[in-house]
Structures are given as structure tokens and as C-alpha cells.
């Protein structure tokens, strides 16, 4: 029973995990991206369509990354090069994503593909309790583990990562060091968006291997909130995403058990939970130990340097 719940937790948490990681990369560079929901949808549709056309899941994942990378580039262009309002641009990206996927998704509605299958990791899958949940999963989930570690390594063990963090903290100082601020920011927004797209593709290639209009159902927004919970750290993002996955798994379990509580009320739980988590982590953030990039949400203009 607990094993099944844990397995469902990981599977429900993985799309959010990818999205949260992508959002962290954005915000580390100092750019808020509220287009996560739209990017996930773009990733979900392009991933599904590419796999449906080619039969290859790998191509699907790549297509999801590339499509979300391109869509994210719009946000990057507007917020970085054109110094536009990051909140409005992100909302526009979400609206655009919802609309454009509804339009172009009509062609593949009702189609099915062979989604990602489970592959057990030898030995590790035999571990009691956690073995099945973490090591009898599909390739995308294993990739998400790797990505968590890679992002940590990138930010804390590479020069590029350090430079990117500097840009998020203080772009003027980074500029003075000769770091090309705008180019880094653009790439961070676009690449981060690409990973968000993979999160969407997890929904359409693994969770339910089909395309459903608006299938993300607010997960992108939950990811935006989890970034704050995660204090912009990839390992904490893993924890946050699974916490959310756990709530979703329990909610589905309750529904399957046929409780008398209305399904509509149960479906509210993840959103309520996310708000509670957001409040707690915001309060904690203010009590010091803040990891929030110092220049988050502000455009950088060399002429404004003080």
C-alpha cells in the first residue's frame, strides 16, 4: 500500500519537478517566468506530436525541449533584450501556450502512442519500500534525478554557474567583470524553458500517453510556487515536487477508494496545499537565510548602473 502510494508520488511529482527545475534556472538568472504553465503545454503537445509522427520517444522529448526553448526565447527576447515587464510577458506566454496548443492539438486529440515504460535498475529496485518507487521507473524519471544533480553541479561547481548566479544577484557587478549579462540571461531563460517543456512532455508521454487540451491543469503555477519553497535549490525542488506528488497521489487514492467526500473538494487539495507551502516558505525566507537572487524580476540596463 505505502509502496504503491510512493510510486504514484514520484510519478505525479516528476512533471512538476522538471518544471520547477526549469523555473529555477530562469530565476537564478534574475528573470521571473510566469509562462511555465504555457511552456508545459507547448512541451506536452510537441512531445506527443513528435512521438506520434516518428514513433520515437526520444524524438518526442527532444521536440518538447526545442519547442519550449523557442517559446521561452520569446519571453527572453522581451524581458532581456527589450526590458519588458516580466510578469506581463510571462502571463502572455501562458495564454499563448494555452491557445496555440488548443489550436494545433486538434489534429492529435484521441490518438494514442506507446508511452515510456518502466525499466528496473538492478539491485536498487529490490530495496525495501523505496526501491520500486525510485528505481523501477521510466527513463525520464531517471533523467530527472540526473538533472537535479547536474543543475546543482552547474551552479555550484562550474564557472558558468557562478557567473549566472552573479548575474541574478547583481548584473551590474557581473557586467563590470566582463560577463555578457544579456546573452547569459537569454540562454538561461531559453534552456530553463526547455526543461519545463520536458515536464509537460512527461504528462503526454508517460503519465497518460495522449494529448488532452489544457492537460497541465495548473501544474505550471504550482511549479512557480515551489521555486520559492525550494529556495532556488534543485535538491529542495526534488523534495517539494514529491511533496506535491504525494498530495496528488493521496487525493487520487481517496477518490479510488470511493470516499463520500466530493471529488471537487478533493481536487482542491493540491492547490490549497501549494498556497500553504508558499506562505510557510515565504515567511521562512524573510527570517534570513534567503537564497532569493537579489535582482530577481528587474531588467538590467547598463545606463542605470549606480
Amino acid at each position: 500500500m505505502l509502496e504503491i502510494l510512493l510510486d504514484a508520488t514520484v510519478r505525479a511529482g516528476t512533471p512538476i519537478l522538471f518544471a520547477t527545475l526549469g523555473a529555477i534556472i530562469n530565476e537564478r538568472a534574475g528573470i521571473i517566468n510566469l509562462g511555465i504553465e504555457g511552456l508545459m503545454l507547448i512541451g506536452a503537445l510537441s512531445g506527443f506530436a513528435a512521438t506520434f509522427a516518428s514513433g520515437s520517444l526520444l524524438l518526442g522529448v527532444l521536440a518538447a525541449f526545442v519547442a519550449a526553448f523557442i517559446a521561452g526565447s520569446i519571453h527572453a527576447l522581451i524581458t532581456v533584450q527589450l526590458r519588458g515587464n516580466q510578469i506581463v510577458s510571462g502571463l502572455a506566454l501562458t495564454m499563448f501556450g494555452i491557445g496555440i496548443t488548443a489550436l494545433f492539438g486538434r489534429g492529435v486529440v484521441g490518438q494514442t502512442i506507446d508511452g515510456f515504460e518502466r525499466h528496473a535498475v538492478p539491485l536498487l529496485a529490490q530495496l525495501p519500500l523505496v526501491g520500486k518507487a525510485f528505481f523501477n521507473q521510466d527513463w525520464l524519471i531517471y533523467f530527472s534525478f540526473l538533472l537535479v544533480a547536474l543543475i546543482w553541479f552547474f551552479f555550484y561547481r562550474t564557472r558558468w554557474g557562478l557567473e549566472l548566479r552573479t548575474i541574478g544577484e547583481n548584473p551590474a557587478a557581473a557586467d563590470a567583470c566582463g560577463i555578457p549579462v544579456n546573452r547569459y540571461r537569454f540562454l538561461a531563460v531559453a534552456c530553463g524553458s526547455g526543461f519545463v517543456g520536458i515536464g509537460g512532455a512527461y504528462l503526454s508521454l508517460a503519465s497518460t500517453p495522449m494529448w488532452i487540451e489544457n492537460m497541465t491543469a495548473g501544474r505550471g503555477w504550482i511549479a512557480v510556487a515551489l521555486v520559492i519553497f525550494a529556495s532556488w535549490s534543485s535538491f529542495r525542488a526534488l523534495f517539494g515536487a514529491y511533496l506535491f506528488g504525494g498530495i496528488t497521489a493521496m487525493q487520487l487514492r481517496f477518490q479510488a477508494m470511493g470516499t463520500t467526500v466530493s471529488a471537487h473538494i478533493l481536487q482542491m487539495l493540491p492547490y490549497i496545499f501549494t498556497i500553504v507551502v508558499l506562505v510557510i516558505s515565504t515567511i521562512r525566507l524573510q527570517k534570513g537565510a534567503s537564497q532569493q537572487p537579489g535582482n530577481l524580476g528587474l531588467p538590467y540596463d547598463r545606463e542605470d548602473r549606480k
Binding site: 520569446i74 527589450l82 519588458g84 495564454m95 499563448f96 491557445g99 496555440i100 489550436l103 486538434r106 503555477w221
Partner: protein, 357 residues
Amino acid sequence: MSLAFRVEKRDQGSALFRSLTIIASVLVALFVAGFLLLAAGVNPAAAYLEILREALGSTYGISETLVKATPLIITGLAVSVAFRMQIWNIGAEGQIYMGACGATGVALFSGLEAPLMLPAMFAAAFLAGGLWASVAGLLRARWQVNEVIVTLLMNYIAILLADYLIYGPWKNPDGYNFPLTAQFVDAARLSEYFNTRLHSGFFLALFCALAVYLLMERTIWGYQIKAIGSNPAAARYAGMKTGLAIFLVLALSGAIAGIAGFSEVAGLQHRLQHGLSPGYGYTAIIIAWLARRSALGVIIVSLLMGVLLVGGDSLQLSWQLPVAFAYAFQGLILFFLLAGDFFINFRLRRVKEDADA
């Protein structure tokens, strides 16, 4: 000779230049959206003509445009009030639903008579929307919790709550199990005009615009909102209670959005049903952004959006376009508005390659 540009700040330019930039942005957005339509197998020229014909080509079309503009004006005002203080109310969608729930509760269960019923429904909607948004207001004022995320997530909760009522306790017992509440009695309906669906909610919306204008431009409270919005530190130094103001402005913003819920159920749908609002609360964000600081601007932009929505509905029928396609339009318009802002605030100056790098 290469094409190198340097970005320079400039004054915002004249009001005429700004307006022209906005109009140009919208036109470019429509042009780009044309390519999307083309890719979806729809002739864009025919589609745009159809939008204009459907929305403005007949008395009925115009009345429908006004019907669509009604909730847009009210929610656009709601969002713009908060905007003035640099507070983002992305939750107007949910607040519409809460307002509708409040009004419906009174309509179905209060048993009030004609002169009292509508005011009571209005008050319930105003309170429900206001209370819903004040959660985000409290969290923001007390702990600086990001109001964008809270108001947005609460949209999902509000819509689920309305669904719970419609599918559960408030379902019409004589409704053959359809997810609808019972129809409102006549006392709970706004008057309709000219044998169309145009109802007095439209005049209520215009009245709201006047009230918001007077509040913002003619009261101390409006002055404080603007002062806090433009410089919170200075406002605090001047002794203004910014926390309280943030709480109140979000509550007011939600209450205004709640009025839109009242107007929709009392004026148009006469019951609470699923899909009450096809995203008016999100369109309201664009309207508030486009209209910038003006209540009159909200009315004008809402009417234009009304045209787009009425025309979009007809495209759905004739070309089988999905409802959500309107969002792609709106997203594009926002993108190009932001890009247009750049050209208002900055100037590109061509520099020679051999000049300073």
C-alpha cells in the same frame, strides 16, 4: 558597413505617439495571428472579416458585443485598481465565480422579494469576491507572500468550489441530474432590453467605471493608492499604512470582480452553471494593461475585446476553432504591446562599426 545599433533611453514621447504605438502593436499581433490561422487551415482575411461582421454588422451583433464587454469592463476595472498600486490581481477569474456563487446563494435560498432581492444579491457577490481576494491581500500585506501565485492558484479552487455546488448541494432537484442550479425567479433577474440579451449589467459596468474613476482621482484614498504604487518607500515615509492599503486594495479589487459574477448570473445566465466565465478574469489583465491608468480606457478596450470574443465565438462554429484559441490572440497582443513599450521608452541609434564598440 554593418548594422549595429545602440539602445538609448528617451522621454516617453507624445500621447499621440504612445497611442499610435499601441495601435500598431495590436495590428502587428493580429497580422501574426493571421499566420497561426493560416497554419490551422483558416483563411485569416475571411476570418477577420467574419469577426467584424458578426460583432458589429447587426443590431444583434452589437448587443452581443456589449453583453461580452460587460464582465470585461467590470473585471478590467477590478484588475486596474490593484495595478495602480503595483499589485497584481490575477485572480479575477476566481473572484467572478465567487461573486456568482454569492449572488446565486441569495437568489435561490433567501426568499427575498422584488425590491430587495437584487441589492442583496449584489451585496453577497461584492462580499464573496472581496473576501476571496482578501485572503491574498492578507498574505501579501502581512507576510509579503507573492500575490500573483496566490490569486492565480485560488482561481482553480474557486472554480472547483463552484463545481462542487453545482454538482452537489445546489443542483436543481428537477433538473434531470444536469449540473445546473435551478433558474432564478424573476425578482432575481436584471432587466433586458430591445429583445436582445443586453441587460442592465452593462449600465452597472459603466457606473462601476465612474465610481472607480472618482475613487482614484477625487479621493484621498485613491491618491494614496497611486502614491504607494509609484513609490512605496516614500509613501511609507509620508506616514501611509502600506500594509493596510495593500490588503484593502486587493479586497476591493476582488469585490469589484465579484460584481461581474453577479451581473453574469443575474443578467445573463439566470442560474449558476459550469463554465460561467470563459476566462474573462484573464482577459481583464490585458485590458487593465492596455488601458494603463484610465477607467475610460478600460471601457474602450473592453468593447474591442468584446468584438474579438463575439467574433471568436462565431469562428468556433464556422471553422471549428477551439474556444481557447482566443488566448493565443490575447497572448500575442500582450507580447507585441511589451515590444511596443520598448520603442516608447528607448530609441535605437545606428552606430558605425568603427565607432566605439
